[in-house]
Amino acid sequence: MHPLTGWFRKPQEERFDPAPSRLKYRLQRWMLTPGIRFGLRFGVPFCLVFAAGSAYLADEARRGALVGLYLEARAAIQERPEFMVKVMAVDGAGTSVAQDIREVVPLEFPVSSFDLDLEQIRDVITGLDPVKTASVRIRPGGILQVDVEERQPALIWRSREGLALLDENGIHVAELGRRSLHPDLPLIAGKGAEAHAAEALRLFAAAKPLGPRLRGLVRIGERRWDVVLDREQRILLPVGNPVRALERVLAVSEVQDLLERDVTAVDMRLAGRPTVRMTENSVENWWRIRQLNGGGQ
């Protein structure tokens, strides 16, 4: 008789053999090979993720959705009220300059501070003629703070185009309609005069004793200065060291009243031979006086 349980029982288990089969042994050795291990640990996951990612991104709509999601999240953060700039404040500039600044920085507030390129704004503002330096920052409270230092006009330059204001470095500050708007500023003229504004200022400083007689400086031949006084007097200064020459003239004038006399021009161009040019009348007078005095000898 067949044992009834035999049909249902699994066949008798063989005695446990710890020896691995040849295939298992080879597989284990294969898995212990460093290259294979590295490949399984990093290469396969990388490939899987890469393949899955590529498959997902192969669809244009999904890519668009991802980009949209990203942009949306970005905008949501950027447009938080903490990051919004609502107003621009300009400090240290006059009304017209402030007006100009607002013109050249066309911002429509409110704007997110992430969208502001402060460096670029600063460059634009510094590019304006009347602005010497500018600092731009975002103040807490959503205020775009622009601190401006204006150029101070130091000279008036008369050219063929008209009158212009220059600062102490000869940089153009503004056009000037009439001379009488800035009666206190000294006047220079001539081609190339603006490039030597600093020298001109030194000359004006040296010419202080002339007082209201001084009308201005003229650049002659783009190389030297003439000091123009009233009564059509001129002091012709040399190319080199004009300030010293001018001081010499003033010192002579102080002692001998040179400039008070009827002199058209004092020529200092040659330092060793200063020359005085008199008017026609006075020359004739001088001749007459010499004739009267000395009988023409």
Binding site: A19, R22, Y25, L32
Partner: protein
């Protein structure tokens, strides 16, 4: 002889490759267990600052990173007699060791104890051409050794120059560069049955492993169980394994004699099994837990259950006293030791300056063995354990692992063998034409 020279050189080359790769496996194919250690070499051992030899006798250049043992199958008397079974056992051990080491091993250095090792002492003398000994002349004197007729089916396992003599100065370790007229060498050669070696090589190749060296386990266990001064002054190491007991005699740090007795712990177990009528597994367990060789009065009262699983209550409840067990074990142990004594006497061990005998191997753990051995072998007997090496697990530090640990040292710092020297050109078997023909045959 030349084929052997080439194959041993190839194994040396393989060992160099393994050192470069940094990982090599040690395989001790024994009759009762197969042990596999995986070694990692991280550079040569560092010497201490003053240039003397550092910790672990300078053997610290490697580290054991994997160790596994498995029950041996298909091995008897240290020789393979069922290749499939042995291959499976080797696979088991190698796989477990690799798993522990987490690295793949391709090169294996193996040792085995059987195959009737036989020692030969060779010597040769050479008149030097110049005044100074050159490496070429060392190779020449080694090659000119008179090789005895050791039989057709035998192969040389070790051939080590043991001693060099220059004129009347003997005991030179390295004669190169020294002045003299005649150079003499003493060489120790160990031959084994070629079939056993070939079987082992085949088995290892079937496990997809490359053989990077092969050694006699007598040599390996002597290398690890003898301490340095014993190796220097002269001592015998007796490795009592499962299927065979191997003997090696060391002198001046060189093995000068090796032999094996085809008796071991398995014979004790089978004696117990037959004497008490119990299975081998039970007999092994009883031998391990209760065995001994000295019976005392207390042993009559110590009753051991010997068990059984026949289902017969009377049969399964049999007991035996420990004295009876000792009565079975002792004659066999005595027989083994007397056989060893006979081999040592034949080798002239009593003429050595030091008569130290070190017992190691798994069977040396029988309780009271040192007392019995000192009656048979001589007064200077001690039980030896293998040297400590880096990373060796606690379970593998017992005397049963002496040959595995010795093989580690052998792998790290092999002693010079005959085939480490370039063979002088004149010894090649044929002229240029013959060499060309041989090269063609080897490569196509």
């Amino acid at each position: 002889m030349t084929d052997l020279y080439q194959s041993q050189r190839a194994m040396r080359q393989m060992r160099r490759q393994a050192m470069q790769r940094g990982v090599v496996a040690i395989l001790d194919v024994g009759s009762s267990k197969i042990a596999c250690l995986v070694l990692r070499f991280d550079g040569t051992g560092r010497l201490s600052e003053d240039g003397s030899i550092g910790a672990l006798a300078g053997q610290s250049g490697f580290r054991v990173i994997g160790a596994a043992t498995t029950r041996s199958r298909g091995v008897q008397f240290g020789e393979i007699n069922a290749m499939q079974e042995t291959e499976r056992a080797i696979r088991t051990a190698v796989q477990a060791a690799q798993k522990m080491a987490e690295v793949r091993v391709d090169h294996v250095i193996a040792c085995f104890s059987g195959a009737n090792p036989r020692s030969y002492g060779l010597d040769a003398k050479l008149d030097l051409e110049g005044q100074v000994v050159s490496e070429h002349e060392v190779a020449q004197v080694l090659a000119s050794c008179e090789v005895p007729e050791y039989g057709a089916g035998r192969e040389v396992l070790h051939a080590q120059p043991v001693n060099f003599a220059l004129d009347n100065r003997s005991g030179l370790g390295d004669p190169r560069g020294q002045m003299g007229q005649t150079l003499a060498v003493d060489m120790h050669m160990l031959t084994v049955d070629a079939i056993a070696v070939q079987n082992l090589v085949r088995c290892i190749q079937r496990c997809d492993l490359e053989l990077a060296g092969i050694a006699s386990s007598a040599y390996a266990s002597g290398f690890s169980a003898l301490v340095e001064d014993e190796q220097e002054l002269g001592a015998a190491c007796i490795d009592m394994g499962g299927g065979s007991t191997s003997i090696s005699v060391f002198m001046k740090k060189h093995m000068i004699y090796a032999d094996a007795v085809r008796l071991g712990g398995d014979h004790i177990t089978s004696d117990i099994s037959m004497g008490l009528g119990i299975p081998m597994a039970n007999a092994e367990r009883i031998k391990t837990f209760n065995g001994g060789v000295h019976a005392t009065g207390a042993d009559d009262r110590e009753i051991i259950d010997i068990g059984g699983d026949t289902g017969d209550w009377e049969h399964d409840r049999r007991t035996v006293s420990r004295a009876e067990l000792i009565g079975i074990m002792r004659p066999r142990v005595e027989e083994i030791l007397e056989e060893v004594r006979a081999r040592l006497d034949a080798a002239g061990f009593e003429y050595l300056p030091s008569q130290q005998i070190v017992l190691t191997g798994g069977s040396s753990q029988i309780m009271g063995l040192d007392g019995l051995a000192s009656r048979i072998l001589g007064q200077q007997v001690r039980l030896g354990r293998p040297l400590r090496v880096h990373g060796l697990p606690q379970s593998a530090t017992g005397p049963g692992f002496a040959s595995a640990v010795g093989l580690c040292l052998f792998a790290a710092h092999p002693q010079d063998e005959w085939w480490d020297f370039e063979m002088p050109a004149g010894r090649h078997p044929a002229g240029t034409l013959g060499r060309a023909v041989r090269w063609f045959r080897d490569n196509w």
